[in-house]
Symmetry: C2
Subunit: 337 residues, 2 copies
């Protein structure tokens, strides 16, 4: 019985709408009354309590092309405040400085008892405990599988598939751009500068490449993993962080001779650290190109590694799984009443 609003109609938002359209049978099989009632961008929103036409919405690049129902000057907050939605999917651009605008949207939604699914790291890095407390207080789901390592379902894996295990350490290659750069340096012998240039040309870097190469992105993800999975209460400033700018071709060649690669590894145990590390080339964590990998050490399973696409449209897999979890769990709740 979900009435869904989507905040954000960028790359992920559009891909998500197309995926809802394509998979509507699968979704309606779990929730026959599922509908998208609103979608916003930074300038306004579309809204229809009877449900928007997913086919038409899938075909537009901008919301204004959908119909004249779209009017500028209406805010996402206004859409939330209507209070007719019971799930908001928050996919606005990431801002790890203050989490905005996503943070305000998420707070507004949770305060109204609206469940939240997001792929936006910013709000969770800035205000993890505040948001999870707010969600708990309002009896809401707050799911964020898409925020770390894209399509790799690390949070649901640990919460649903390793329920009896105690997590002792998490190590991850959590930034695809730096992994691409380091892989080029390892396999092709290129310099850091040239590999970075290639990454930029392939559209793999943020506008400000320091976000990737100085380990800021990886550190943000480490903060979320630590708070969500290891019951910590840490902030970005708590991460000991070293980027890959000073990794030389010489260091990589030397490592290679001893059957190691240099990777930007996030380690979460007692410490939270992001730094270039030697990884044995036959270790499961040693993945290449833009792949991400997460290695978990536990008391029972001992070690589990998950490898997958860390960014891009594959993230929609994680968002959709969270949405289906909300549908199933709320259906089970409402049947209880």
């Amino acid at each position: 019985m979900l009435n869904v609003i989507i905040a954000g109609f960028g790359f992920i938002g559009r891909k998500l709408v197309r995926t809802f359209h394509k998979k509507i049978d699968l979704i309606k099989n779990v929730d026959s009354k599922f509908k998208i009632i609103g979608v916003s961008d930074s300038k306004g929103y579309l809204y229809n309590l009877n449900g928007l036409d997913l086919k038409r919405l899938s075909s537009v690049k901008r919301l204004s092309e959908y119909s004249e129902e779209y009017r500028e000057g209406r805010s996402t907050e206004e859409m939330i405040e209507k209070g007719e939605a019971n799930l908001m999917i928050e996919v606005t651009p990431t801002n790890v400085d203050d989490g905005e605008p996503g943070l305000s949207f998420m707070k507004a939604a949770l305060k109204k008892g609206i469940h939240v699914v997001t792929s936006n790291k910013g709000p969770l890095v800035v205000a993890f405990r505040e948001l999870t407390s707010l969600a708990k207080r309002n009896d809401c789901f707050l799911l964020y599988e898409g925020t770390v390592a894209g399509a790799i379902p690390i949070f649901s894996l640990i919460k649903r598939c390793l329920q009896g295990d105690t997590i002792r350490r998490i190590m991850g290659i959590l930034n695809g751009t730096t992994n691409y750069i380091l892989s080029r340096m390892y396999f092709e012998g290129t310099s850091f500068e040239l590999a970075l240039k290639e990454a930029r040309e392939r559209g793999l870097t943020e506008r400000d490449p320091s976000y990737d190469v100085d380990g800021i992105d990886a550190a943000c993800k480490a903060v979320i993993l630590a708070n969500a999975l290891m019951n910590r209460n840490v902030k970005f400033k708590d991460v000991k962080r070293t980027g890959i700018r000073r990794v030389t071709q010489e260091a990589i060649s030397l490592a290679k001779k001893s059957k190691f690669a240099i990777k930007l590894v996030s380690v979460i145990d007692k410490r939270i650290e992001v730094s270039p590390k030697l990884v044995p080339i036959n270790h499961p964590l040693c993945v290449h190109s833009t792949l991400n990998a997460i290695h978990i050490e536990t008391d029972l399973a001992r070690e589990i590694t998950l490898i997958g696409r860390g960014a891009g449209e594959e993230t929609v897999s994680a968002v959709l799984n969270d949405v289906l979890t909300v549908i199933r769990e709320t259906a089970s709740r409402s049947r209880k009443i």
Copy 2:
């Protein structure tokens, strides 16, 4: 409110009891009335409706050492037929020929409306559809995470963490013994015969090594994966199977020069095939020693790889996760009434 009986008190059964004892706070946190009321071996069973003493049970190697309550000559069926349990954990020895004795135990339990969790491949290879239909008809859970790839939570991953994805292909290294042999041949240049001898000396092979080296074990797992995750209805005989006996050191060396390793790979798509295959050494599937790996191709996430321990005591992680799933889901059901 689970009353649990355990059929089988071998390596996994004992480890499981010790794990229940160690993790009892975690379990009681989800089900305050959880208790083990019965444990059987091939000769008899222990039974106490008030719950067996987990501390004492953890310290014995044989059930007869627990107390005089253990008497020989009573069958596991008799324990099931009491009908006082609501979950049976079935961890008797694997028999892939006719699935017995586990198959009869599982049928008996399901017919009485007792949920079943198992790590025993045999019954599922022999009678997958029969057992899943029986479970459905009796409104029972039948969970079997421990049957394939030990501690790797492949079934719950796909059912809980990739709910929106369509699985297109599964490729796996599903037998740790053959992977150990092939890894020794790859890294140390040993012959197949020597590597097999080493594997036997390290206790890695079954009494009949053909179970491993001829791909029988891997084929059984492929059958379960195909039936459980790709909606197939296949039997052991439907697997096209080639073992590793004819993999020579020469073939491995030649592959190595081109940056490939030879691995015993199970492929499940339209075909179901187990055979030695060339795997690029930088592919996530290319894991070594006794590790298992499963590579899933889907429409949304594109590719996800899971790597972990494929056998041994780590399997208890999978069994415990299944038990906790039954506890949570039945608690949620009973609250609904």
